[in-house]
Amino acid sequence: MDVNSYNIENIDIAWCPGCGNYPILDTLKQTLKELGIRPGELVMVSGIGQAAKTPQYMRTNVFNGLHGRALPPAVAIKAVNPKLTVIAQSGDGDMYGEGGNHFIHTIRRNPNITNIVNNNMVYGLTKGQASPSSQKGFKSSLHTVTAEPFNPLAVAISLDASFVARAFAGDKEQTKEILKKAITHKGYALIDIFQPCVTFNKQNTYKWFKDNTYYLDDSYEPTDRVEAFKKSIETEKFPLGVIYINSNKTIFDDNFNQKQVNIKEKLLQLKR
């Protein structure tokens, strides 16, 4: 066994053939390898859903918790042991629906973690219901969507998130480069990854994502919040790349001064 490898042999992967989760898993493992992060130094935290199974297919430390609840334990794990690299990964339903409140408040806290959201605009594991990011007019297994889609990037930028990016699972090379920036960024980093669901989303296919996205060019300056917000609400074609960075923020994990103390001695001098 190679202790530096993220690969697990003989596993039964629960994803459909052609699922957008496969390229994301491959790209993530490749990114971590290239960054020189060892499996023992990483904790993958996830919620529930097909995307949330990603950590199960990696040889590393895993906290696969409850639906929608990946971020709170991820925040705590990083605060308790800042030496660990912590990545919270789940799908759009988990992070933006069930876990929406945690998404908002984790951005506000700004812990030094990476938040990967595999965004396929549909619920896969529960068979084709709409997700918060489903497009208007999407025919879900329940209703045709009439609600506005949740815009994670605009929400994150409005909260002055430390790092906001979007990638497309079909482009491994570019996704890897964006992931590298997200993981090495100091502070909370959101990377929303467009990803097709080949079984339940016949509208937002590999081709659809390819036709409806474009990469921000090198002249784009991601530190201008207003410009970033404008980019985040573009829908004619969705921009890909690093959309916003604010590196001048207090980092949650730096707030704490963990130390070994003589509890018995201190107990006599506590503030009441």
């Binding site: 596993i11 629960a14 023992g40 430390n61 696969n64 918790g65 705590a76 409140n101 103390v261 509890i263």
Partner: protein, 565 residues
């Protein structure tokens, strides 16, 4: 005629006023000064869920022997608002001496003389100390200490205010020829004054708690406040979560990374946490939950007391898994059990509840200093090896718990059913083994259950069962009955219960249970375990604690005709 007050060497003072009138300040001052003067005190409060106005009251018992329970009787009432007398009408008797603005206590005028309304609480404190003829010097010293960072003017005004109340009381005593005869006891000076909240918090710290994530909710907030105040000094990570769901998931994450974490909440907040309790059951994570009870359902009575969430704690979380529920009845038990909760959680990798209530948490007790030297932080985390399996199947069901980054192994936990390595499985035989392994831990836990405490006549015919915060109330009630043949069996652990519980019950001719709830939740649990139905139930669910007198009356009523009483 001389009015002579010597009620078993104790008196009960009640101060009643609106929220915002500073009753808590008076309580703090008085309990400290009475303590310095060598008196035992116990104080407890009832208050409305509002920031200003309404009508609240605080009872302070002053005694030459230890007192730790709420009594109905009022010897002195300081009425700071007109609403106080109607508010307390059922507790006022012909023997109650009342001080009110209308009659004999011109507090508005006195506070203006002292420098403003803000000094009214110091006048009340002075009045009470004057009634008991406590050396004024003690008061003066305390004022100087408490206001040491304030200006001389403020200090002097406070002293003046206290003097005016004190003088008024002394004059009153002479005029009415009143004599209060409670002798100080030097042993009382060795005690510490402490609230249930402080005792729970200190116990958690003694148990090595170094992470707390919670969402404020009365009456559980005090523990979050206490730990946060001391967090920098002690290296505790403290976080106010966006909701209770985040709070418990953070704390479970913290244990995973190697911390000793807790949450503090009340019923409604805990209801949101229950999925997290189930997560802890599945991934075999330790977690300490301080569940501070108040009356429900829903928002209920936010500032009142009840023992209504035992069943919620017992059955919370979907699926089947073991847990431990502790229910302290005094500050000493709060300290000891809260400390122990962390060691038990770590040892057995299960949720451990500290089940308290508003009455216990808010009351101020005079108690012997805690046995800090007897506390220990027992850690069970192991350094992992390359082939580490988080859920290794072992004889007793306990798998050694590793944490990421400590050792060569990887730590994989999953809320799905999992195999020994923590990988998701749907293999039914693995499922059965894992479920059995988790449940097996209950057998180990049962081997170190807290023994219930039997007090009173060992050859009892009548057995009175209590749990949690009613301990001292029931104890004093039984003491007041002054009868043979009656004993109290008090439980500070309510789940799991000791095997020999049947023996205690079988030895009694009559069994009575006392609970601050409407449906006798603990009685039901006893029946499940022993098959024995407790014969009589004394239940109270108005939102107020039992008083010593009402428990004694109820016991008399139930046992009327019993030759023992």
């Amino acid at each position: 005629m001389q009015k002579y007050i010597s009620l078993k060497e104790a008196a009960s003072i009640v101060i009643s006023g609106e929220a915002g009138q500073g009753i808590d300040t008076v309580e703090n001052f008085l309990t400290r000064i009475f303590q310095l003067a060598g008196f035992y005190t116990f104080s407890t409060k009832e208050y409305m869920s509002r920031i200003r106005g309404g009508c609240n009251s605080t009872e302070i018992r002053v005694s030459s022997s230890p007192v730790s329970a709420f009594i109905n009787k009022i010897d002195f009432l300081i009425a700071l608002t007109d609403k106080a007398i109607p508010h307390l009408k059922e507790r006022i008797s012909e023997n109650t001496i009342i001080f009110s603005e209308k009659e004999n206590f011109p507090i508005t005028e006195l506070s203006q003389e002292a420098g403003g309304k803000i000094y009214s609480n110091m006048i009340s404190a002075g009045l009470i100390l004057g009634l008991f003829s406590v050396e004024f010097n003690l008061m003066e010293k305390e004022i100087k200490k408490v206001f040491s960072e304030k200006t001389d003017e403020i200090i002097n005004n406070n002293i003046k205010a206290a003097q005016s109340g004190y003088g008024l009381a002394q004059k009153y005593i002479k005029e009415k020829n009143l004599r209060i005869d409670i002798s100080p006891n030097t042993d009382a000076k060795e005690n510490i004054l402490i609230t249930g909240t402080q005792a729970v918090s200190m116990g958690c710290i003694a148990g090595g708690c170094n992470f707390i994530s919670s969402y404020p909710m009365s009456p559980g907030t005090g523990v979050l406040t206490f730990l946060t105040k001391n967090s920098e000094e002690l290296g505790i990570i403290s976080e106010q979560a966006e909701d209770e769901i985040a709070a418990i998931n953070m704390s479970i994450g913290a244990w995973y990374a190697g911390a000793r974490a807790m949450v503090t909440t009340s019923g409604g907040g805990f209801a949101l946490m229950t999925e997290g309790v189930s997560l802890a059951g599945m991934i075999e994570s330790p977690i300490v939950i301080h569940l501070a009870q108040r009356p429900g359902p829903a928002t209920g009575l936010p500032t009142r007391t009840e023992q209504g969430d035992l069943e919620l704690a017992l059955y919370s979380g979907h699926g089947e898994f073991p847990r431990i529920i502790l229910a302290p009845g005094t500050p000493a038990e709060s300290f000891e059990l809260s400390h122990r909760a962390f060691n038990l959680a770590d040892k057995y990798q299960v949720p451990v509840f500290i089940l308290t209530d508003q009455y216990l948490l808010d009351s101020v007790y005079s108690t012997k200093p805690f046995e800090i030297d007897k506390t220990e932080v027992n850690k069970y985390v192991i350094k992992t090896s390359v082939n580490y399996k988080r859920y290794e199947l072992t004889e007793n069901g306990l798998s050694p718990r590793g944490i990421p980054g400590y050792g060569e192994g990887l730590v994989v936990v999953d809320s799905d059913e999992h195999d020994e390595e923590g990988r998701i499985t749907e293999d039914m035989s693995v499922r059965k083994k894992m479920d059995k392994k988790r449940l097996k831990k209950l057998e180990l836990i049962k081997q170190e259950v807290e023994t219930p405490e039997l007090t009173g006549d060992e050859k009892y015919k009548i057995l009175v069962i209590s749990w949690g915060s009613t301990k001292e109330i029931v104890k004093e009630a039984i003491l007041n009955l002054d009868s043979d043949g009656i004993a109290q069996l008090h439980f500070k652990q309510v789940y799991p219960l000791p095997e020999k519980l049947n023996k205690y019950l079988a030895a009694a001719e009559k069994t009575i249970i006392i609970e601050n709830n409407a449906t006798s939740q603990f009685g039901k649990l006893i029946k499940i375990q022993t098959g024995i139905e407790v014969q009589d139930k004394i239940l109270k669910y108005s939102g107020l604690p039992f008083s010593v007198e009402e428990v004694a009356e109820e016991l008399k009523r139930i046992c009327y005709g019993c030759k023992q009483l």
